[in-house]
């Protein structure tokens, strides 16, 4: 294992009863970046975060965070990390300032330092006016911002944010994105989980897509976008010979392939000229393609493309960066 990485996991496995939540997850996150673990509900994102944050033990596999083993050096890991999540972990009956002061004291600051740190964080997160109000009176967005501020009291080098914007309205999400972006600018490694492609694209310089407990794609936002272009040209082929020929020719442009139904999806920008050129390129004799359709890629398509059966998966894995 390398010491240069902020987070490194190999072969993480975890089952709850008969349900295999993580099925061999490998991750490598260099320090000082925002890394997004993107996946649908139930993909295993939260379980992965809990193992990396020492709150849960893997059944198999190993992980190092901030240079320390998450199982054998729990305390050292805990001193380097912090965790904020979709359930804002602050007391509704305490004020914002009291919550942050408490977290600062638990992080080992003196009472004086804790007070100063709380004041600084409240100002930085736009909560100075609400500092002396009970958190129970805060809006959802304010609670998440306070939660994030609370996770920064101990000056961690790695921050885990488990779906920090789930359930928030757009202005609150945008305010939170601003704050998360600022963190990475200060050299903190941010490990973000999200189910929003847009969020991962906006914040992260590296994205791993997780589904069914496995990482199905991994790369920069640009790499992933190539995989799941804005539009998709779906071709229904005349026979399996034509299917094979088109699949070979498509190479990296192939998004989906279903040999049973003889359909192939190709990445495209969707312009008429490009569609015409693609049809000419893939079917010069005008016999291989029986019909075609173009449709806009949605988030559902992204996950479908990355997780639809063995054909899709092997394709994605071969294009992994």
């Amino acid at each position: 294992m390398s010491d240069d990485l902020a987070i490194e996991a190999t072969g993480l496995e975890k089952s709850f009863g008969a349900v295999r939540v993580l099925d061999g997850v490998d991750l490598a996150v260099p320090p000082g970046i925002v890394f997004a673990l993107l996946g649908p509900n139930g993909a295993g994102k939260t379980t992965a975060v809990r193992i990396l944050a020492t709150l849960s033990r893997p059944d198999a596999g190993r992980a190092r965070v901030a240079g320390h083993d998450v199982e054998r050096e729990r305390r050292k890991v805990r001193r380097s990390i912090s965790l904020a999540g979709q359930y804002a972990a602050v007391d509704g009956l305490q004020t914002g300032a009291e919550n942050l002061h408490m977290m600062g004291r638990l992080a080992g600051l003196s009472p004086r330092e804790a007070r100063q740190r709380a004041g600084g964080l409240l100002a930085q997160f736009g909560l100075a006016d609400a500092a002396n109000r009970r958190v129970g009176t805060y809006s959802g967005g304010m609670r998440r911002r306070l939660d994030l501020a609370a996770s920064l009291t101990g000056r961690p080098s790695v921050i885990f944010l488990d779906e920090p914007t789930t359930g928030l309205d757009l202005p609150s999400r945008q305010a939170l994105w601003q704050v998360i972006g600022d963190l990475a600018d200060r050299g903190v490694t941010v490990f973000l989980t999200t189910q929003y492609l847009e969020e991962a694209d906006l914040l992260a310089s590296r994205i791993a897509v997780i589904d069914g407990g496995r990482v199905v794609a991994d790369g920069s936002p640009g790499d992933l976008k190539k995989l799941v272009a804005g539009q998709r040209l779906d071709l229904t082929l005349a026979d399996s010979a034509a299917f094979g020929a088109v699949a070979r020719l498509a190479g990296g442009r192939l998004v989906t392939a279903d040999p049973g139904r003889l359909t192939i999806g190709l990445a495209t920008e969707g312009a008429a000229g490009e569609i015409r050129a693609l049809l000419d390129e893939f079917d010069p004799d005008r016999s291989a393609v029986r019909s075609f359709s173009v449709h806009t890629t949605t988030l559902d398509d992204v996950f479908l493309a990355l997780t639809s059966g063995t054909a899709g998966r092997s394709e994605v894995e071969s294009s992994r960066v």
Binding site: R50, A53, T54, L55, S56, R57, R74, R75, R78, R79, I81, S82, L83, A84, G85, Y87, A88, A89, V90, D91, L93, Q94, E98, M102, M103, R105, L106, A107, R134, A150, S151, G154
Partner: protein, 249 residues
Amino acid sequence: MSDVLTMTARSFRLTRRQLDSLFTALALPVLLMLLFVGLFGGAIHTGTGTSYVTYVLPGILLLCAGYGAAITAVSVCQDMAGGIIDRFRSMDVPGPAILAGHIAASIARNIASTILVFGVACLIGFRPHASLPGWLAAAGLLLAFILAMSWLAAAYGLAVRTAEAANGFMFAVAFLPYASSAFVPVATMPGWIQGFARNQPITPVTQSLRGLLLGTPVGSAPWVALAWLGGILAASLVFSGVLFSRRTA
């Protein structure tokens, strides 16, 4: 140690701001005593030659320790169910420190309600005849009871998943004093329950408190009481340790 103090300060603050729970913890014991003494007391003859308020006060004090502990069970349960437990653990706050904050707040609440009940009891005719050692022994025994109940409540709060279930602790604990010598003499109960009533923890604690406060002989009751409370405390500490690590594994 500093973590324990921080967590205690937190629990005190949360307690002060949960006005409904605080009201329950402070006012309910007083109301119960007025109910027993004012409404039932006239019909109950304890055969001890003392007024009913003098007879029943120790039982009321134990009952209110049980109600106070139920609040502890609920707040421990809420901590475990909410996200804040993950934050504390990822900050490496030790489990005992998290629980100790709740215990400290529980003890403080109980001392406040005990003093309140005691004051009202004196107003309505409670006349103790205790020596100074008797007072100290009674206070110590009551404190031991409160401590044991608080840890038992913490263990119960760790064992159940919802605040509603945690609140059920109150009913379980509130039942025991009724089937003891706390409210009526055991000899007046049906024969089949007398064995249970004589040999359950509330009876020796009640008898010790009663004897110590009135300056009458207590025999071996305080030692039996301490053995019970020590056992409950030890079992609760072990259970809460096991449950905490299992809930957070």
